[in-house]
Symmetry: C2
Amino acid sequence: MSEKHISSAVIKRLPRYYRYLGDLLENEVVRISSKELSERMNVTASQIRQDLNNFGGFGQQGYGYNVEHLYKEIAKILGLENEHSVIIIGVGNLGQAIANYHDFKKRGFVLSGLFDVNPDIIGKVVNGVTVKHTDELAEFIKENDIDIAAITVPKEKAPKIALEVSNLGVKAIWNFAPTDLKLPDSVIVENVHLADSLMRVSYSINARNKSKKDD
Amino acid sequence: MSEKHISSAVIKRLPRYYRYLGDLLENEVVRISSKELSERMNVTASQIRQDLNNFGGFGQQGYGYNVEHLYKEIAKILGLENEHSVIIIGVGNLGQAIANYHDFKKRGFVLSGLFDVNPDIIGKVVNGVTVKHTDELAEFIKENDIDIAAITVPKEKAPKIALEVSNLGVKAIWNFAPTDLKLPDSVIVENVHLADSLMRVSYSINARNKSKKDD
């Protein structure tokens, strides 16, 4: 199974499956048919069967899927059975929100360090971790094996600091700054562009208003 | 031009064009060739020409694009020349981060109301707006024309409150709760699933580690 190539479209959908299966587990659901899962997830049952067939024959005719088994298999594919160490650079409201997000800990993401340049924030303890000065980043990353750096600094500062931590060996950048980072190919970049997301909302409102006027 | 159908793939890319053109404007760049823009955006020049041709013939052979003109045209398509009123439900760290995000104001998103149930937060002033009790939501929405409700409450509370404000006439839900909302088709839903995003990072780290081991 581990040798099988899984398409990027399927991979994009995996976190959503994982989320739904986690909810079912919490509600002590033992098994579910693709039809039921399809109704909950608003995806066709055949799409679900196709997607989940990538992970072996967990579905059985007349039985459906064993929720816990499938949940654990998807966790493996997503690499969630390994712990990932995370640092957050920029401990404003957004950085603190991420630091306190308890879902992350549940999924194996361990908050290892918090960094800022603001003297009012340095020394503050957020979710058990003391905020250090950004000047200490290099030493900290050398001494600790850091998987992920969340970047929540202003956009002007993001490219330089993202490149710096990438060169220090951080594997992935989780970028919240409203800019696209140019980093070595060896570094994984995942963007959360909130302003882009809000502009899509604006577009949809505008498009609906127009189509109403045209009626 | 307003009659032309624009594909959803192009629309998804528009906020990114808008962001890049905004950066160029800030740097007082008057015009840019599709080649230059392509290098900055890491998209092929032909993709850029194709995308931007949707908005009329702004590009001229040998001249390139007039940055300000194109920026304004995309703003129109995205509905950014209209103001949008926004309320935020859930004024924890994430809600406060959104409330203070100054990029939003710049793009015509006006913070109209903040709501929470926590007595320690109610009455607090964030970015000039006083946090009210969630009990006051219904009256507030009836008296004010609200376009967008950002939902930053815990996932258990999100479905009920999103449905409530939808029924009160809010046009769009900007959902940060880690759950998918089932709402009437008349309501626009844009999800920001941070946990899904982080799981994609985990997947990529895992996949790269595996391929290294296979080498």
